[in-house]
């Protein structure tokens, strides 16, 4: 394999892992509530920015990270409680505007709490590039890939082996039936938002040392994470992960071999292609309408 190809693949995998985490967040919330959370990207932003400012305030990285993740999770819970819950049963358009409004609100708050500048987060274990298959990879990238893998494994264990996880799955398939079986669907909803926010925050913290972070870093990441979720099949966890990785790789290869100027457009062209030819995505379910 040429060194250049290896480079692009590694880079694509790294950012793909981030997209996968964001996409997982979308999938979890969508499954629990059929809401597309346009504010998902803001959790990514909160994770990175909060860790930076906590670090600047003197907290060691090991403490700053969990605090930042918890803060993001709290924001997720607040979002569910104050913006989504009161609008249960509203139309698709209404819910979309609510979450978009929430994302604007969060970005506005970010500029007040922090600022509009770019910030760097220190890499977890130094920044000496490592040689791998003729390409160089940053240690931080290994962190991204490793942590993402751990999270994916943890989540699949959670959803298939724990009662809470199974309750969440049940709610996503049929909320009424789940309620009748004693599942507290409101708790499941809150948990979904909290969990998705945490996932987003972790993604933001992982990637911040590589790409820097700022108040509006969540916009594009959120949209691309969403494209990845659709690519994999909306509502499918495995789909979110595969979609994210695939998107990252295609984007990297496209930017490398076709056009780096149009790098950002690749995700959306892919999104349109999936929606036109394969709307249920790679792993999604097809449903028939009953008349």
């Amino acid at each position: 394999m040429s060194a250049q190809l290896a480079q692009y693949l590694l880079g694509g995998l790294t950012i793909g892992a981030i997209y996968a985490l964001v996409a997982l967040g979308f999938a979890i919330i969508y499954n629990a509530s059929h809401v597309i959370n346009f504010a998902q990207g803001e959790f990514v932003m909160i994770g990175g920015m909060a860790t930076v400012s906590l670090g600047n305030a003197g907290l060691p990285l090991l403490l700053a990270i969990p605090v930042a993740v918890l803060a993001a999770a709290a924001v997720g819970l607040a979002l569910e409680k104050f913006a989504v819950e009161p609008a249960r049963g509203a139309s698709v358009v209404t819910l979309i505007i609510i979450t978009i409004g929430a994302s604007i609100l969060l970005r506005g708050l970010a500029t007040l709490v922090w600022d509009k500048k770019l910030h760097a987060l220190q890499p977890f274990s130094g920044d000496q590039p490592i040689e791998l298959a003729g390409a160089t990879i940053l240690p931080q990238s290994l962190w991204v890939l490793g942590v993402t893998l751990a999270i994916v494994l943890l989540l699949s264990w959670f959803f298939s082996r724990t009662l809470t996880g199974k309750a969440m799955l049940a709610t996503s398939h049929n909320p009424l039936a789940a309620q009748l079986c004693g599942v507290n669907t409101r708790f499941v909803l809150l948990l979904s938002f909290g969990l998705s926010a945490a996932l987003g925050a972790i993604a933001g913290i992982l990637i911040a040392p590589i790409t820097l972070t700022s108040w509006d870093v969540g916009v594009m990441l959120g949209l691309k994470g969403f494209a990845a979720a659709i690519l994999g099949g909306l509502g499918s966890g495995a789909g979110a992960v595969v979609g994210g990785l695939a998107l990252g790789i295609v984007e990297s290869l496209g930017a490398g071999y076709l056009s780096s100027a149009y790098k950002d457009a690749i995700a959306f062209v892919l999104l349109l292609a999936v929606l036109f030819f394969m709307p249920s995505g790679l792993f999604g379910k097809k449903s028939a309408e009953r008349v």
């Binding site: 506005g108 959306f268 999104l271």
Partner: protein, 313 residues
């Protein structure tokens, strides 16, 4: 003419407001705001036909607006076309594009439709920013003034009347469309898609038709903006502008053409008033969006009418 119908009454009222408003406009700044309201209203009237009446959604309409603006700008500034020809060609081009992408996009529904329009809008804005030799990139480009038979159109007051007339025409066309077989077909699709289909309505064709019309409204508004402002930047092409437009339509109450005008007016004025708040502007705007949709999901105007009806009883 039947003065009692909401149609002619509303049109007359709108015309009266447009004619009398200059008495209240103290200086050029407020003329600018009025013109901005008029332009947003034209886009919203078209978008409302798509969202409110036909029950579809578009999160990418700023793309059409931007194409209208940049199309007119590029043809006049870079290629020396007369503005009217540039306007016509740009509008035709946008209509064709909307027709081409409309077919596959409008076969989708709900969230998928929303995301497809979002993707379309973002792709358009990325192209505009990246092709900087043509568009001036992130810094934007200047646009020559609008001329007709050698006569130039310049100044706030002249443009106010042009936009006012354009808005009146846009509202008239929209109202005509609603009270017609085509309009009923769209409303029927919104009411029950399968019920409409068995009545002989080709769902995709109808949706694409209204998509194209709403794109044309947006494109025309964009072209006019470009010549009025003398300058355009990619900000007007992006995702946020698309969201602003949708919010205006929903705020004004979907399925109401006049509601769309009021929604445009309100949400255009709001940021102007909010600049006082400076750094709190985004927070307040976001909060307003969330609060309106949570407490007044039908939109401001219909909810207000409902409250008035309740008080009457």
């Amino acid at each position: 003419m039947d003065w009692k119908t909401p149609r002619t009454g509303g049109l007359a009222l709108l015309a009266a407001v447009i004619v009398l408003l200059p008495l209240a406009l103290a200086n050029n700044y407020w003329y600018e705001v009025a013109i901005l309201i008029g332009i947003n209203a034209i886009v919203c009237v078209g978008l409302n036909l798509l969202i409110g009446y036909a029950g579809q959604i578009s999160l990418g309409h700023a793309g059409f607006f931007g194409l209208g603006a940049y199309g007119s700008a590029i043809l006049t500034a870079r290629y020396g076309w007369p503005p009217v020809a540039a306007l016509a060609a740009t509008t035709a081009g946008v209509a064709l594009l909307a027709l081409a992408v409309g077919r596959p996009i409008l076969k989708l529904k709900g969230h998928y439709l929303a995301m497809a329009t979002l993707g379309m809008g973002i792709i358009i804005s990325i192209v505009v920013v990246t092709e900087d030799r043509l568009t001036g990139g992130p810094d934007g480009m200047s646009v020559p003034a609008f001329t007709l038979f050698g006569l130039g159109l310049a100044g706030e007051r002249a443009w106010y009347w042009v936009i006012g007339a354009a808005l009146l025409a846009a509202v008239w066309v929209a109202l005509n469309l609603i009270e017609s077989p085509a309009g009923r077909a769209l409303r029927a699709l919104h009411g029950s898609e399968v019920g409409a289909q068995v009545s002989g309505i080709d769902a995709t064709r109808a949706k694409v038709g209204i998509f194209v019309i709403s794109a044309v409204f947006a494109s025309l508004a964009g072209s006019l903006t470009a010549h009025y402002a003398g300058f355009i930047t990619p900000g007007k092409v992006g995702f946020f502008h698309s969201i602003e437009l949708v919010t205006m339509v929903v705020f004004g109450g979907m399925a109401s053409t006049f509601g769309a005008v009021i929604g445009a007016a309100t949400l255009t004025l709001l940021p102007q008033l909010l600049t006082v708040l400076k750094e709190y502007e985004m927070v307040v705007f976001g909060a307003v969006m969330v609060a309106t949709m949570v407490f007044l999901p039908r939109g401001f105007l219909p909810s207000l009418m409902l409250e008035i009806k309740k008080k009457r009883k």
